[in-house]
Subunit: 420 residues, 4 copies
Amino acid sequence: MTLFDVSPRTADLHARLTKFMADHIYPNEAEFARQVQEGDRWAHVQLIEDLKPKARAEGLWNLFLPLESDPKGQFGAGLSNLEYAPLCEVMGRVWWAPEIFNCNAPDTGNMEVLARYGTPEQQEQWLKPLLNGEIRSGFSMTEPDVASSDATNIQASIVRDGDDYVINGEKWWTSGAGDSRCKILIFMGKTDPDAERHVQQSMILVPMDTAGVSIDRALTVFGYDDAPHGHMQMTFKDVRVPAANLLLGEGRGFEIAQGRLGPGRIHHCMRLIGQAERALELMVARAASRVAFGKPLAAHQHVQELIAQSRMEIDQARLLTLRAAHMMDTVGNKAAKGEIAAIKVVAPNVALKVIDRAIQVFGGAGVCQDTPLAMMYAQARTLRLADGPDIVHIGTVAKEELRRQGVDLRAKRSTPAAQK
Amino acid sequence: MTLFDVSPRTADLHARLTKFMADHIYPNEAEFARQVQEGDRWAHVQLIEDLKPKARAEGLWNLFLPLESDPKGQFGAGLSNLEYAPLCEVMGRVWWAPEIFNCNAPDTGNMEVLARYGTPEQQEQWLKPLLNGEIRSGFSMTEPDVASSDATNIQASIVRDGDDYVINGEKWWTSGAGDSRCKILIFMGKTDPDAERHVQQSMILVPMDTAGVSIDRALTVFGYDDAPHGHMQMTFKDVRVPAANLLLGEGRGFEIAQGRLGPGRIHHCMRLIGQAERALELMVARAASRVAFGKPLAAHQHVQELIAQSRMEIDQARLLTLRAAHMMDTVGNKAAKGEIAAIKVVAPNVALKVIDRAIQVFGGAGVCQDTPLAMMYAQARTLRLADGPDIVHIGTVAKEELRRQGVDLRAKRSTPAAQK
Amino acid sequence: MTLFDVSPRTADLHARLTKFMADHIYPNEAEFARQVQEGDRWAHVQLIEDLKPKARAEGLWNLFLPLESDPKGQFGAGLSNLEYAPLCEVMGRVWWAPEIFNCNAPDTGNMEVLARYGTPEQQEQWLKPLLNGEIRSGFSMTEPDVASSDATNIQASIVRDGDDYVINGEKWWTSGAGDSRCKILIFMGKTDPDAERHVQQSMILVPMDTAGVSIDRALTVFGYDDAPHGHMQMTFKDVRVPAANLLLGEGRGFEIAQGRLGPGRIHHCMRLIGQAERALELMVARAASRVAFGKPLAAHQHVQELIAQSRMEIDQARLLTLRAAHMMDTVGNKAAKGEIAAIKVVAPNVALKVIDRAIQVFGGAGVCQDTPLAMMYAQARTLRLADGPDIVHIGTVAKEELRRQGVDLRAKRSTPAAQK
Amino acid sequence: MTLFDVSPRTADLHARLTKFMADHIYPNEAEFARQVQEGDRWAHVQLIEDLKPKARAEGLWNLFLPLESDPKGQFGAGLSNLEYAPLCEVMGRVWWAPEIFNCNAPDTGNMEVLARYGTPEQQEQWLKPLLNGEIRSGFSMTEPDVASSDATNIQASIVRDGDDYVINGEKWWTSGAGDSRCKILIFMGKTDPDAERHVQQSMILVPMDTAGVSIDRALTVFGYDDAPHGHMQMTFKDVRVPAANLLLGEGRGFEIAQGRLGPGRIHHCMRLIGQAERALELMVARAASRVAFGKPLAAHQHVQELIAQSRMEIDQARLLTLRAAHMMDTVGNKAAKGEIAAIKVVAPNVALKVIDRAIQVFGGAGVCQDTPLAMMYAQARTLRLADGPDIVHIGTVAKEELRRQGVDLRAKRSTPAAQK
């Protein structure tokens, strides 16, 4: 199989997903917006609940869990990252679509953490209903008062007290916590602030209804609140949970985060490719139908440049992302560190460029509620920040390249492999 | 006076404006947001009404009207475009500030049209209350169903019927029409669709309360509705107004539009420079106060590059805009056509780059409601579309350059001046 | 096999080529320059002649001919485009290296034309010595007086006269014609200027020693003459060759050009990837060894950005090129038209960016004769022009995308596939 | 007077210079190339010597020396930097033209150093013949073995020995030293390597014919040797000169360098603007005269974009440069540090972009000897390195901006002025 060929199973799923999107998602975009606008913005959306059983019935459910995290295929569909990637792209074309297939962030990452590191009890209590799409979850890591790109800055504390842990801290950008169906959070904080840099942190499960957990406000993204999902600022004040809620062990928060981030990033990137691809389709359709100065926009050389640049950038970003997926499948997330960092930079930047061009071709319709473009832009923009800003990933790519060429900056000696 | 020196009068106004912003505007940004959120979003905001008399009392009122449109200084402050530009920049630093000084779009453009082309009756009825800040106005040109970058596409009709004109059409992006104080619109439509290309159109005054005028919906810009100002989609169905409401004469709509656009663009560009300058200030402040990897962000080379690039781009964009203002003052809007087109491309693109960098330095705080950056971005983004997309202005710059070098594309002969 | 895996045969050839480069090419770069400088710049270079038999003895010879053009493997190594691509990249790392392996332009393209379209007699007379590396060849298409991006502009004439054709015209950028070993040209001109646009042209074989063939001057590329290869301006005055020298038939010049260009472009692109990769290696080595402001350049964040951006761009350009190669192998050059056009834009632009960054890291050493960077830059720059300027390929990418989405600009009707 | 108006004296000189260029320079470009190619490349060019008296007779001589360095106007024309800038731009349009007016680098900088810091004896011996254009000079600072962007890296030594200084070191990029008329060098080296960072260095006058001074080789710039001017690598071995040759005093090398660099940079930048302006003219002329796909290139939207972007960038870069000149005139070189650094980044980068576009419009003619474009590009490229690489100036701009906003990185406390 080359990258352009896909396994028969992926091809089949891809065809069925594409049809599902055409039959049930694109025609319902206005209806989704209408249902959110009506009544409680943070209540579940009936349309979502109606479509989920349909998707599940068609076998389009929980496709995300990579084999590595679920070797016996007991939780998910048993696809490799490379097999899942093109499917993730299709789902990503509409922002609220992934949930229909139970493949939406941050639930996918949280389910993967539970599948990999959860105890049987934790899996029974939280993973099972998540896999069934009965509840939703959140991930509380980022804090408002410090530069979270440097994880050692985190200030939240998780302190052992008898059979419990007591949690205190201020978190924001806990995405999904706005949803009334959100029942469980994975919380990151320091169990030992004096430990060595990478073992200060731990992750722990915090049920949303625990005393001391409160939602302070909904953050907006360029004016959007992304209801009912939402991005919440939350206070954790003397929150007490059983010690059994700790994941993997004290000081292993970083380790879990690393394991979690790889696939999560691939997913975000593939969805961004899907968004960019859709923006290009919309741009082409508009350019074909609008006339200015005597000919369709699509016949203007400038618009053709916008289309061609978009096609070239998307194709490159997709290939880079697929390569990273393939590396994760074959050499593992750790060895694919540089490749994963690269797509984290490339994918959102390409998506933003393509969406921006589409907005420009649409004119006023591009920035308002008449197309999905402005919201796509807002969401893609946050992905140059979420999981760390571009520059952090650029640093990783550079360091991996230096390492690959035998340059050791710490050792102050350098033995580059390059021939003059 | 060089560009870096300003007239004593401008220097004095600049200092007082800067103080007014510091005393009354920046400290009230959260309060403004709070008042808009409360009660009717489209009602007037008390804070605005409270600050207007203060500004007027300090002589910071109606500074915008260029001498050319108001040669006797009977309506405005009698400043040249070059003198007004640095003041406009200061006001533009906060999106709702210009109204405090009665210098906000689209009222400024509309007042200028009335000052230049209005009859004494029209001036008495509409210009006077506008100059007093008692009412607001809108400008209805763009239409949802056609590419408005090509103005011949406009479909709205203005048909003479006895002593009246009867108006029909669908308009959108009528900015300011959401405001409950908006009482009058300048409407553009075709009086003679069969006339030669540039004399098909006319402009006419339409009071908001005329029968047949209706607001269909508020358009959003990314996720913002910009209340109480707003960007409205409106239907005009058999709207009947007296023939005396016509501006300047049938077929002279283009002529008015051209006269109107020059100063309007300078204003938008100076406000964008103000926004960019403020974004840079915020970026620097954040970079100085946040620490990552052991030192303030401002000490990271990457952040220094963001700061330096922003400074270099802003300074260039400002100089280009001031030059255009100077050209308008000295050779007139028509001869300054290429210079005006150039800033229309440069200013919003520079502002977007600077604001985007500031967002990146702020991280999550940059995209949410905690800084003005995301809304700045949304507004600046529309200015790559309003008054025509970038590519239209780029075409103007190119054609002016070809003309300057003696190339006549229409004549199929070309006599370039360049020495080999 | 994915794009990232290679066939065992390619892997073996790749390893041996890499070793050959390390053993015989890199250590001889200064020697090559020395030998060119000495004596007649346009005479053969002894170093080249010495290394060719070595390469041939190791089986590193004529690897370029794709299976499609040589289905029985009678001329070349029988590799697919996808198999050849990584080998071409390695050879491309030094500009004069491909000839050592008999894989250099324009001989490869000319040999492919002869293999596909040549008669047995033509193959015996010209293809055989070319495959043996005994003679060199040139390709005369571009003309100084017209915009060659539009091939209908070509003015050279090929007129039937009895058993001969008589050729007249002015050509330039006939690369390789400077070499004293160059014995044969493929010449493009019009046999029927009044025919339909795409059948006006023919290709014909013109021995260099034919009466009326003259070299007017050597063109420089920036300040380089690329001796002994060279880029020649030539006059063809009443040049008479036997009718049997015509390739394929009158009016089939375009057809041959199309068939020739696909693989030729892939080759150029892979060599450019090789150049970019080498520039990055040099950049890293320099950054690791030079110290400024107290630490190696490689520890400066700015330099790390240069390294990371280069890595990300090269990897994307390589993947896009490999994809195009794979498409050519599986669906054919014609169906891969858009993909081939895309790499023609992407590869030289990426190479130029990477080389430019390397120059910047090297400082003065980067622009002078002490590194291969400045010459790499000059050569890569011409590849945004050769085979047509970027904008022509951008137009092809756009048109292919429009076609893919069902937009037919000529039919004035458009039925875009995009869902709203 | 605004930035766009010029003093009557400048206007007059500008008109006469423009005429001189049209009468004597543009028509002689081919002749200059011919004369250099003939005979000794490093001998003086007769054309230059013939034109110099003509220019001098017309009062177009030594216009460069700013009032600040020559307050009594005893050496030069007594123009301010702002007055000289537009003249420098005109001369810069052809690379060898400034010498005709005795306004070429590095002689201008060297004359300025002698005018400001030279003793009457030094001025009599070296400044006078330089002002008369009888001899040429060089400036030896950069060294091949260290990163010269960090001036503390300099290794050359200047050691006091009795009444002499003994000089040792290896220098390269000593521009102008190739010229047979070059008689004197200003040499920078360390008199006290153990002193505080900014007082280790001194500058000293070294006559070219001193024993121990040798030229090792001519460096090329993208294949050009820029003969007869040249960029030389030189060895200084036990070179002994009288102690009186020291400039200003031991340890004051930095101080002189700072004073020298300001005007020198403005000059380079204005010449680059001139080059860019000329490249745009050539681009327009070519676009007007070549036809592709049925219409002149100038009628293609893509080419119009190239033209418009160039116009907008050039105008901004020129305004920024004029502003820096004005700042130097009014607040001094030191206070204008940030503004000078900014143009050092902007001007060459803009010139490179414009020239590159012109090359693209010209096609093959753009990279070869048929237009001045390729050589322009090569020279402009070095100006992103000479006087320090872009990133060093970017750092200066950033630090000046931080300072302006009250951020003190060293003090670890920061009191940014920005209002939230």
